[in-house]
Structure formats: structure tokens, C-alpha cells
Point group: C2
Chain length 255, copies 2
Amino acid sequence: MAKITVAGMGPGGEKQMTGEVLQALEAADILVGYQTYLDLLSERWQEKPRLSTGMTREEERCRLCFREAAEGKQVVLLCSGDAGVYGMASLLLSLADEYQTEKEKIEIEILPGVTAATSGAALLGAPINHDFCCISLSDRLTPWDRIEKRLLLAAEADLVIVLYNPASKARADYLQRACDLLLTRLEKERACGLVKNIGRAGTEKKVCTLAELRDMPADMFTTVYIGNSQTRIRRGRLVTPRGYPVEEADKGERP
Amino acid sequence: MAKITVAGMGPGGEKQMTGEVLQALEAADILVGYQTYLDLLSERWQEKPRLSTGMTREEERCRLCFREAAEGKQVVLLCSGDAGVYGMASLLLSLADEYQTEKEKIEIEILPGVTAATSGAALLGAPINHDFCCISLSDRLTPWDRIEKRLLLAAEADLVIVLYNPASKARADYLQRACDLLLTRLEKERACGLVKNIGRAGTEKKVCTLAELRDMPADMFTTVYIGNSQTRIRRGRLVTPRGYPVEEADKGERP
């Protein structure tokens, strides 16, 4: 049976991929993905046939998968990080209805990977060791108002906040705008951090305050962490405790 | 130099571990972890010396690591899922100050893994494909009031909500309590799902409405998904679109 595997490759290097994703690459007749991610694959996969589409052409990329699978090929659609965290799993499943018929059935398999929230966290220490949320600052598919509302509610909930897509060429000041908004609710000294190019050439990391974060350079390959009220910088690492001080728990105090 | 590696093993099976975690296991002189997780390791690691402590004895577990590392051993502290998502990374780093001296320095390395939020999501379809949060229902270290406040704010923010530790023997009705609270804000038909024993023997998954979720059996090995306003059940799979309908984005309407 024809099969499409949507695979999360993790941050980049092969050693951060899971065994089942490597197995899927091995079995694949063709690899489909955004060129930047396909280029991260090591030599041993460079011989595999591959197809790619540009940045905003995700739907076309999914349709390529169905077209190839309809020819009986084993297709692997590669995503950076995890396949289902701002990845292609959802779009592919949404388009499946158009291609699944009584006669032809294409199996769709999703293989998870290490998402940037956790691979970046490991480099910084343990910034997301309690309840946390992931919010993308890209307003390409989500109204900016909704993103702002989420940021404020996440701050009020004292969730650790992980920002994906914090800035791009077209959205150069989005991280600044998000920080300015959060600074209306959170203290300037709130412990924060960011990591660039996780698991790839040119990895950079930085631990800083929220006020400092505002002016940090960021791009599409940067993941940003805003600590909760308990997060501290310890020996240069960002550490969020697993809970709240016992006294507070005993009192059952409202946050 | 003595070294402690805090490693996320993913949901359970070796094929969902990353290559660097397998390398760390290979290099380890001793493995430390909660017994249930050590037992998930395949035959090839069963020869390694190992130490474990019970469920609530995480601090003791970390101290064992420092004691073994002080003897010059390469120690791997195993966590299920990711090392920094309700894992041991934070506690180990918090205790490090007591053991790091001018004379003795212990290197601490954190290796990420595939966390339950994403491995369970892959089994259900693509439930967390937009902004989401992870909230633990365990009130052992966090006051229940704070957990309730988080749930309500997450619902207001229209975040997909992933629940860790939704219930245990001592907290049999916590998932019910959380659902009852969410039902005061969200519609009964909200698309939800849950997965039990991800990547292990006895994997079970279920897609349902929020009203049905309330009465689903859950335990410490269950991960629960509450969709956002756009999440739909498609061919038995839970799918959250990557964004919001274009009309809304065009209007810039407030959610």
C-alpha cells in the first residue's frame, strides 16, 4: 500500500533523530521537504530522490506527497523538530480527504521528533521544567491580536512561554513587540533565554532578563524562552523549579 | 572529568530514542532512574549497573547521581519523555551548587527526548499543530488553585491543552474535575483525545468530545488533549489546523 510518513527530524543533526525516523528515511523511495531541512541531512541520504517547495508553499508540498504516493512510492515528508508542532502533519491530514478513495487508500503515518522547545531548553538548562506553552509569533495564518491576547493570558497564568518564529526579515520587530507587551505585566528582571540554530552549525545561546531580551537579535531559526515567576539563572543556566515553594502550597494561596 | 547526563528516553521503545541518548547509554558506567523507566530498556542495557529510587524520591535520585559521579563515574540519569518536561533536569541543576566545588567539577549535560505531548499527538493525528500548552494536573508540588487558574486562562487563550499526570490512584477524579471546570467555558462538543502507554505495551488511544472525556479512565501513563476552537475529528483523527480561517485574519477580528 502507498504510504506517506510525516517525520520530525529533530533540530538538525542525525544524532538527534530517532531510530524510527532513520528507518523511514532508509525505506523511502522519495524525500519531500523544505530545502533548508533536506540540506541538513547527512551524506548518506543525499542519493535519495527529493522534491521541495519554497517557504510558504506548504500545500503544494503536501500535494506532491500524495501525487508520488499515488504512484506507489514510499514517501517521507520531512519536518524540522516535531512533525506536529507547527509542522506539516495537520495540513497533510486535512488534504487527505481529497486523495483517499474507495479504490485507492494511502496510509499516513506520523513520526514524532524532538521539538525546538525541548532541544533548546536542554542547551539553556531546564527552563521549561514546569507547565509551559508554545506560541508562534508568525501572523501569517493567525491574526496578531490573537497572538497578543495569548501572550498576556500565558503571562497571567504564570506559564513558561516558548516563542517559535520570533522574527523574520518581514517581521523584524515582532520579538520586540512581544517583549514590550509582556513588560506591561512582567518584571524587567524576569529570567529569559534564547537559542539560535539548535543542533546545527552556528549554535548560539544566551541567558538574559526580559528587558534585555527585547533588544536581542532573533530570526526564524531562534527559539525564545520567557521564564515563569520561579525561573532563575543559576551558574549561567536557566532553571525553572518543578513546583512552587512549599509554604505557598500549604497555604493554598491564590496566585 | 566526572559527568552526569540527564537523558530523555522518549515514550519507551528504543526506536523512539535519539542516537545521542543511545550513545550516552553506551558510554555510561551506571544508569540511574525510576524503576519503571529502567525496566523499559531493552536487553542490551540490562547488564549495566543501575540504581533507582521510588516515585516521590526524586531528590534522593539526584543525590545518588552526584555521589556516583564524585567517584569518577559516567552517570546517566534517565527520564521518560524529555529530560526537561516534568523531568529531572531542573532538580539536578538546582542541587548542583552543593556538589560543585573549586576542586571538584562535575559536568552536567542534558539530552532532550521526544516528550509525550508530541509522541501521543502523532498517534492521534495532529492535535497540537498550533499554539499549545502543557499543564500537569499533579498538585503534589503546585497548589490546585493555580492549576485551575491555568486551565481557565489556557481555554480563554484558545490554546490546545495537553494534560500530563491527569490522574493517579490518590487523585482518581482530577481529570473529571479539570473537565468540569473547562466545561464552564468550552462547548461540550470540543474535540478531545487521550493516549495511554504511548510507545509501550498496551497502547490505547481514543478521540472523543470534552463531555465524553470527563468520564474516560485515565492514569499516570495517560496523556490528554483538549483541542482549540478549530480542532476537528477527521476520519477518526484529531486535527488542529495551522491557523485560523483567512476571513478572520483579513478582518483582524478579536477572538
